[in-house]
């Protein structure tokens, strides 16, 4: 058994050492990706001649690969859009199916020495595990090798000039060092050389280039000295350098995978199979094989496999993965079920309305995947700077070598000033911010918004559907003859539970409660509902309908819905588009943050004015058309303000696109969500606070990281060029600066006490909070 493993492992060893690019014969033919059935899982069709997909890129090493892959993809005729994300190693592409096929696009990526798989969560997992094992193995070989080589070097350092060390012993130790350093260089440092070689073939320079040059120069000089038997050897420096560099790289890999995993939860919302009911029999089918109209049984504790409507059974669902709201939501027949939520109590039967890629979870997932495509301007500038700096480093190293004649100065320059930290500064923070926002009910669809939200000076709020619930709600209850308020609400909810009247929605309380049992329910179209509760006849609905049962004129005439029992009035309900319960708190919080608030609505100015006064919003406009809203935002922008717009509904789509940063409510129209930079998926205004808070902290971390990386490079370059620091100090400095940047990127993004433990139903094995 062990022998087999070793054989398999050594095969990998030689593959890693010898092969520079992918070995195409080991890859599945790209044509399998063209199969329409297979494509259903990962290809979206937003337009007739547009197809979108997310590809996982393999063998990405640094920010320069990102750029290269993007260019390669964009050059394929028929590709409409191609964006590559470093942190998640995914490429988001859109193409025209009339011009090109997915297999052609994948072939283009393979041609430049990378590989791509369509995004499939399970495959990504195996990939991540292999990558992790490789990284640890490389780190171990380098670390252990460094330890041992240092022991061989020690006598030579101690002896220096004393002459107690015999010539043969010294030579033996040099040879032993060479034997151990060789696998460290060839195997552990393989990724640096492969990366540098790939770029050299394309006549470009990447972050790997200076490191590979430094290691190779140092090793060649030492190996020559060993073979010739004269001169200095620095195997200890090389092995330690390799260990430190790999340490930084491994830390970065782990941080990157951790951030990626947070996002991966999205893709795992959907269970892989479902129990389909057809003609009285049950059949286990893959979830993606479901189609609208199918009936599916969902066991208690199971995930809902698609969006649909509950047909049989009553239960409650945990929709927290989708909305960030951990409170269970009661579900009765006719209620909408969201794919990916967990059925908590009873088995139920549902009818599928949207399956597979059409589900709400899948749509949000695609929006979030796209987020990475638009990176903050600050980060774009940092990337350009990193590329420029790499050139400067190589030129400086060459000059230092030429002027001093000492190869070790060149090695120090190459290693110390590699701008890795600069390239690492932002991607991890951005991915983490996106994932954490998602867990709090806000999906970031463009990470560029983090920067503008952070800089925002003004927040323009829409009224209907944003500050208000956008639907009928009970504003006030008037009870009569000693009837108790809570009891009347409960009774009304029970009576209206199956009603489809628009006002009945006000009673569909989402909370689970003990409702009275209702018998003999009778729906009187346009009038109301009559039923028997505990033997008593009760009616809910229009005033006249209830008066007939109560036998007396209503004591209150301005309410919209009445509740009456035999011979007496119970309650009157005042229904209006109610303010969201959290609206006041959020507005106060935003004002406390020093943001100027504006209320702009198409509603009656009197109502808008009253609301603005009640919430303490200083600037407001009522009766605004979509054009007025647009002008309002444009005026603010012209005055130098950075405007964040919060809205919903189709009317808001143009103004959302115009604002510097835009946020759409989750219940809003789809068009608004596509225009918006962020979507509050929980349809909860409180997530706006999290959005602003996390934006502020994320951008602060990015700025700190960039500042640190720049300061480090500014100091290290001249110090190394003047020969003040040796190769191992250079490696220590460069690794430490990368470590600091990665650690800083992993700092909490949200306030203490705001942390929400991941729900127990979460499929993620990780128990950590970040």
């Amino acid at each position: 058994m062990a022998r087999t493993i070793v054989a398999a492992g050594f095969e990998k060893y030689y593959e890693a050492r010898a092969a520079a690019g992918v070995r195409p014969e080991l890859l599945p033919p790209a044509e399998v990706y063209d199969d329409p059935l297979a494509q259903r899982e990962f290809v979206a069709a937003p337009g007739e001649h547009v197809r979108e997909a997310t590809l996982i890129l393999d063998r990405i090493r640094c920010a320069a690969c990102l750029w290269l892959n993007e260019q390669a993809l964009r050059r394929v005729p028929g590709v409409l859009r191609a964006d590559v994300n470093f942190t998640t190693q995914r490429a988001s592409i859109a193409w025209d199916p009339r011009v090109t096929r997915l297999s052609t696009i994948v072939a283009a990526i393979r041609a430049v020495g990378y590989d791509a798989y369509p995004f499939d969560p399970r495959r990504g997992d195996a990939l991540a595990r292999r990558e992790r094992r490789r990284a640890l193995w490389r780190l171990f070989v380098a670390g252990f090798g460094a330890l041992q080589v240092m022991m061989y070097a020690w006598p030579a350092y101690v002896d220096a000039g004393a002459g107690t060390l015999s010539e043969q012993a010294a030579a033996l130790m040099r040879w032993a060092s060479l034997v151990i350093t060789t696998p460290v260089l060839v195997f552990s440092c393989g990724p640096f050389f492969r990366g540098a070689w790939q770029d050299a073939k394309r006549r470009r320079i990447s972050l790997d280039t200076p490191i590979a040059l430094g290691l190779a120069a140092g090793f060649a000089a030492s190996a020559w000295a060993t073979l010739a038997g004269t001169g200095e050897v620095y195997f200890d420096s090389i092995a330690m350098l390799a260990f430190l560099l790999l340490g930084a790289r491994t830390a970065e890999l782990f941080a990157r995978q951790r951030a990626g995993r947070e996002l991966d939860r999205l893709a795992r919302w959907m269970p892989s199979s479902a129990l389909r009911l057809r003609g009285g029999t049950e059949e286990r089918v893959p979830a993606h094989a479901l189609a609208a109209g199918d009936r599916v049984r969902v066991a208690a504790g199971e995930r809902v496999p698609a969006d649909g409507v509950l047909e049989e059974g009553a239960s409650s669902a945990d929709e927290s993965l989708l909305t960030g709201e951990s409170r269970p939501v009661a579900k009765r027949a006719g209620a909408a079920l969201v794919g990916g939520s967990v059925n908590l109590e009873q088995p139920l039967v549902m009818r599928v309305t949207r399956a597979g890629a059409d589900t709400r979870a899948a749509a949000i997932g695609r929006l979030v995947e796209r987020a990475a495509a638009a990176r903050p301007a600050l980060v774009e500038r940092a990337d350009r700077l990193a590329r420029l700096l790499t050139h400067v480093v190589i030129v400086t190293a060459a000059l230092a070598w030429a002027l001093s004649g000492n190869v070790w100065i060149a090695v120090a320059v190459l290693v110390a000033t590699c701008p890795c930290a600069l390239a690492l500064a932002a991607p991890i923070v951005l991915t983490r911010a996106g994932a954490q926002l998602l867990a709090r009910g806000a999906a970031l669809t463009r990470s560029r918004a983090l920067e503008t939200l952070d800089r925002a000076t003004d927040v323009v709020l829409d009224k209907t559907g944003t500050l208000t619930q956008g639907g009928p709600a009970i504003a006030r209850v008037a009870t009569f003859a000693g009837a108790d308020d809570a009891g009347c609400r409960m009774l009304a909810a029970a009576l209206e539970s199956s009603s489809t009247h628009p006002l009945a929605r006000a009673f569909h309380d989402r909370r689970v409660g003990q409702r009275p049992t209702v018998r003999e329910l009778r729906n009187e179209a346009g009038q109301g509902v009559e039923a028997r509760v505990d033997g008593r006849l009760v009616r809910i609905g229009a005033q006249r309908f209830c008066a007939a049962l109560a036998g007396s004129p209503a004591p209150e005439t301005h309410a919209q819905v009445y509740l009456a029992a035999q011979g007496r009035w119970l309650a009157a309900f005042f229904i209006e588009d109610a303010l969201r319960p959290e609206a006041e708190g959020v507005v106060r919080e935003l004002a406390a943050r020093g943001l100027r608030l504006h209320l702009v609505s198409g509603d009656d100015p009197a109502i808008v004015g009253a609301l603005a006064a009640r919430l303490g919003i200083g600037h407001w406009t009522g009766g605004a058309t979509p054009q007025d809203k647009l002008d309002y935002v444009a005026r603010l922008q012209a005055a130098g303000h950075v405007v964040a717009m919060v809205g919903d509904g189709l009317n808001d789509a143009p103004v959302l696109a115009r604002a510097d940063a835009s946020v759409a409510m989750g219940a809003g129209a789809d068009a608004a969500q596509l225009q918006a930079d962020a979507v509050l998926t929980a349809d909860r205004l409180g997530a706006l606070q999290d959005l602003l808070e996390i934006s502020r902290r994320a951008m602060r971390l990015v700025r700190q990281n960039l500042g640190w990386a720049l300061a480090y490079n500014a100091l290290a370059l001249p110090a190394a060029a003047l020969g003040w620091i040796g190769p191992w100090e250079a490696a220590l400095g460069m690794s430490a600066s990368s470590f600091i940047v990665v650690l800083n990127a992993l700092r909490p993004l949200a306030r203490k006490g705001q942390w929400k433990a991941s729900p127990s139903s979460s499929p993620s094995r990780s128990l950590s909070y970040s």
Partner: protein, 47 residues
């Protein structure tokens, strides 16, 4: 001093042996989840 001629090659062999042991542990999945053991201690199942 003569013992060095034996000890140094021996130490090189040892390096490769230890490397091989670590590699087996790695492929056996020992290091696949470095976060979980830290949490496991907080969630003891033995009542």
């Amino acid at each position: 001093m003569e013992s060095l001629a034996l000890l140094i090659p021996l130490s090189v062999a040892l390096v490769f042996l230890i490397g091989w042991i670590f590699w087996r542990a790695l492929e056996g999945g020992q290091f696949d989840d470095l976060e979980r053991p830290a949490h496991d201690i907080l969630m003891d199942d033995d009542k």
